[in-house]
Symmetry: D2
Subunit: 291 residues, 4 copies
């Protein structure tokens, strides 16, 4: 009976969205209760614009009266009645994430360090890069590092190889930790709301390349970073988390890059954490974050 | 079916705390559902330390099957079973707040301006001050302004007069908007978790008098403000909201006072808003804020 | 001998920019020193990109050996030698600002309240609006309020009238306090770096109309406000100050507007303060802020 | 001719404080100018309370007319005349810092990573710990790691050993990166304004042990971190930098520790950077930060 964000005991999390109607919370809470589940955390949201309902509920399975293997089958009829999109995640089953990187080490280093501290509660079975540079860092954490070179000409084959690797490892989610290649629509379509990118600006400002240079030349007084899901529109995917830091005329472009690194690390880490705890529901171009 | 913070239609809000146990959310949600209430917003929290449960749920009364006048009687048995502290507030019934001020106008001005904009959804039937200075501001908003002078010798009589005024107006909550007098334990005991104060530091730093001078002399790089409920321990009551602003060695004591005014206004206004929307539950020395 | 931002005694402020070269600081400091001026505050900046030099220096005139009326003539030769753009402001001479507003009162209210508190050290000889609505607020502060209606057809004549009013009052700077009309290039050209606007987004995000709606629809997690000088490119002028506030999926469009009001007030007030204290130098599309 | 914070060419930095008087800036700027130095950055501050003057000026030595070895002797007479405390640092001479740690790795890891990126421009000739745990991390960066166990009984001998190590390495500054031992007054007196500590609260709140637990129990809505110089009064030394992060009732004590780690890393790194660039002057219990 704790709302702590750390996994505690055996529990289930239901993420659900459907058209709003009377009694959704009560009926779902009752479904859990009558099977001996104890609700640990329940949060819901209704989009006033389109009257869509979003729910996250987690409950303890300690005295649950049906086998978890039967849980989805038991819930399916009600979900059908509601016309809901839904998924149930069990605490025993950790999210499997692949990290894609290029040459910058700061985001990867941050993720691996937090991972070892147990901040995420995920598995990281592999790291994929288009460069060999960060292999030693992967070794330090004992994680397989696959080099898949990418050029404009070879992108299609490279992505085929990346997908092959992801499927071999049963990857749920891909984290682009300053991965400097644009993924094809075919690739992104395979992982809807399952590819997390860090963009080094407060989107939608400074979309595309060299956002720090764009910010420097525009003379903004704040720079930012944004973690978001990747869609086939560059930097247009649903935003998960954003933060900013103050700069001044004294800051050179190099200072922006340096200060921005700190933001990128934090904002990507927060995004990974929210995703790994199943706290994010996508609502069209937006996210609902049950934090 | 909206969780928007603006009052919308006829609705009820239940605030409840009790020892945690299985099924609390389900049974309370069911109580509302079986009477035709539609849950607009439900949030709950369990204190992992002492296993205490806290709930805020609001629901639409549009198709409610029992008269609201019978609502408390209908809920009482379940609350007794849970051993709960609870209250139900109806949207029709606006919180009645008295503002206590001395000579500084910035917090009062902010509250009255937001009040007129409808940010709070409260009634402000009167303003009480130990000085006549701000009467014109009260007049501008057409709110009765009562001058109750206070000296160490007359404090007891002054408080008797203040209580008389509050009772005559059916005041629920008292807001100390930079009111420079300390209230007696007898007075504060009459309004448990119903007196909101703004303290111009990030408590617990700089308790007591002249916090800006204390901050200036300590050489901190941040100054803050804290809105909190008043208890009989000076500046020790449950904290509702805090915020800070960055300062530097260039800031004089006068600069700290100037910058702090902006913080005080915002932090007090946020506290009033949270209280007026019944989003605060007190948990010993702490608050649970269902924002 | 204090850098406090409050006007203190009789002083002069020099703002200067020129191509960088050896000895600029020493020779300007010496110019002041040898005339008995005591430097209160000196700050300088070199743009590493184009090697341009920017200086702000203020000094006490208490024992200045030449009449202030001769000051500009005395400094002119050195400025010519440096190929500098420069201006000297005397503390006796307060900046004269006109406030342009439409119907929203929050920015105007904030400016007038701070003005009365002496936060700016400026004169506000008039308020100009295309609507009569805020006249009572102007009256409350005893400031003339001129209604100049504007339609697409009458814009040219309206601007002619506005300019007439500004010239009659010897206006140095125009503050657009949520003034909802776009000024013509002819108008803005008359007041280079002398028109301050508040835009309710963190520029360059959400340029143009309805930035809160744009932000709401994009699903950002932060909203911002930007005070900037007006040029003939809409929302592209040099940025003076920016700040942001965190929002969530729970915030409706109305909540964004409400939260944004607090940002707009603060960010515009900071911009006015920096301008009134002659702390801003324009560097192409950017500003140098000597804060 | 750049104020960028990166080391650029051969330059000197003068830090000076003295009683305020007329002409200080002009005469010091002239001293540099007449010897062919080009001022890159000049910042000054006067404490209005006690009329004390603080200056930081850096200049290029590229065309300096006297040998840097004669610089201090050349400046000494003027400094004597001003009654100044002063030091001159040459860019060729990097600050030598020793890192003291115990078992927590996050601050050390952050410092070493930034150090390798060249963010500090310092030398780190050794790491000292009262535990062997972090030796592998030191090895990874090729920095000698000395284990000096400390108990209440052995503290005196341990400190003697630590001093011996510092003197052998010509250490200028000691960074306490979550070093969990209190240093004796004798030790701190040896390194005045040359020991930097990170305290995991926004001082002066939560002085002493377990600040996160203190914060958790008090129910604050913000937690902070503070980097400061160490004096013989625990947590009372001059504050260099502070920052905060928002928390809620949902955060457990473990969440506070986790979120606080991010603050500690950033706030300590900023303090080290400011110190390594000679941007800090101590003013009694306060600091003057020329950022």
């Amino acid at each position: 009976m704790t709302q702590t964000s750390r996994p505690s005991g055996n529990k289930a999390v239901l993420l659900l969205s459907c058209p709003d109607r009377v009694g959704l919370v009560a009926r779902i809470a009752h479904f859990i209760y009558e099977r001996g589940g104890n609700i640990l955390d329940l949060d819901e949201h209704v989009d006033v614009g389109d009257g869509h309902f979003f729910l996250r509920v987690s409950w303890s399975l300690d005295h649950f009266s049906i086998p978890v293997t039967d849980l989805e089958a038991a819930f399916a009829p009600m979900a059908r009645e509601f016309g809901a999109l839904w998924k149930i995640r069990l605490s025993g089953r950790r999210e499997r994430m692949a990290i894609f990187v290029s040459k910058y080490d700061h985001c990867l280093r941050e993720i691996l360090w937090r991972h070892r501290l147990g901040e995420f509660g995920i598995d990281i079975p592999m790291i994929v890069s288009n460069h060999p540079d960060l292999a030693p860092l992967a070794d330090e954490y004992g994680i397989p590092y696959h080099v898949v070179p990418v050029t404009r000409e070879t992108r299609h084959d490279a992505e085929a190889r990346q997908i092959e690797l992801c499927e071999a490892e049963g990857i749920d989610t891909i984290v682009l930790a300053r991965y400097m290649q644009v993924l094809s629509p075919e690739f992104t379509a395979r992982y809807p709301s399952r590819i997390i990118n860090i963009h080094h600006s407060f989107l939608p400002a400074f979309i595309g390349g060299n956002p720090y240079r764009q910010a420097y030349e525009r003379g903004v007084k704040l720079i930012g970073a944004t973690s978001h899901y990747v869609t086939d529109e560059l930097d247009e995917g649903p935003i998960i988390e954003q933060d900013i830091i103050r700069i001044s005329h004294r800051d050179t472009l190099e200072d922006l890059v340096r200060k921005g690194r700190d933001l990128e690390r934090l904002v990507l880490a927060r995004g990974i954490r929210l995703h790994s705890e199943h706290r994010i529901l996508v609502n069209g171009r937006k996210t609902v974050i049950f934090d």
